[in-house]
Symmetry: C2
Subunit: 193 residues, 2 copies
Amino acid sequence: MARTKQFEVENVLDAAVGLFWKKGYHATSANDLVEHLGVSRSSLYDTFGDKRNLYLQALHQYRKRIIGRHLYLIETATDLKETLEAIFSLIIEQDIDDFHPRGCMLVNAATEMAAVDEDVAAIVRGNQWDLQKAWEMAIKKAQYQNELRTDINPKSTAAAIYNAIIGMRVALKTEQEQATLDGIIRQTLRLLD
Amino acid sequence: MARTKQFEVENVLDAAVGLFWKKGYHATSANDLVEHLGVSRSSLYDTFGDKRNLYLQALHQYRKRIIGRHLYLIETATDLKETLEAIFSLIIEQDIDDFHPRGCMLVNAATEMAAVDEDVAAIVRGNQWDLQKAWEMAIKKAQYQNELRTDINPKSTAAAIYNAIIGMRVALKTEQEQATLDGIIRQTLRLLD
DNA sequence: TTGATAACGGAACAAACGTTCCATAACCCC
DNA sequence: GGGGTTATGGAACGTTTGTTCCGTTATCAA
């Protein structure tokens, strides 16, 4: 039998998410990782392979932890407009770390990596598909229960909602007036009128 | 008198835009620049200072060239919905280079750099302000000319339109079904109904 | 034609990069 | 309490990074 690991893989992945989320892939160095994850260089490479692999696993972790909460909110929604507002609030709240905006790790990954890394692109696409489908289903359900006009197209409305959320996550990267954010939210909610 | 430059600064900046747009700041190396701009290392540093400075100037160039066309379209618009559709088309068309998506250089800059580089953030914010103001003015003008309902809020609608366009530029980073893009466009146009 | 100036090409720089290697330490089954 | 196995710490690897330096070349006013 062999020596046991001195760290929890899940914890280290969470820490890696924190770094990659804030700084992106290229600007996060191997030294940064060793320093902040509390794991020695050799153990890092033993456990996660190379830097790119660690990044991909961190991206999965982010999706599980952060986006998972959004999916849950959408799937258990009773009032769609309330839910959309809640998700906007959640996004604004999740964005700030030490007063520095991080945006959304998946959006950052899309703009930095997706064009040149098919694995990253696949994760981003998977996430998009999940969220759009969740919205589409929620809209259909609300229509079935007569809580929403039936002349609203579930698919394109879902796509537009997802799209607005992505836009918001980029906007947060540069500080915004609250009034502008509120305006975007208000107008996006009109999609569900 | 001194020897004359063997290149046009504007042309070199355009080439730098091409590189930074596609690969971002960190993934574009000094060697890449020397190789693709057709200018020797020393001339590059003589003319543009360091890499970051060249990036900032390239970002300005991008804004002047690419976003300038959008501003022109908005300011000379006669039919707002038509104009918005035209801009979406322009974006989709500008996005592809060698069958590789580049997104929008300003969006890429926002997600990669804005949180850690105040000068980049300032350029991004300036761009946002210009475009949102242009939309807001165009909306007010259309309302004044009775071409648009007056119960539409110019400011928040402008913010929402800008936001949707940003979202689209991220979406293009991963290949999209045309139907999804069309859906987003169709729903965004509803903001002007 | 000369001379002051600035652009040029290319070698060279130190620092940082991602990654590998190895001797040592810890673990559990037998 | 060995023995086989894996984790660990730290030194070291070869590359690539962004930048500088310098000898040479081109320019034009005097």
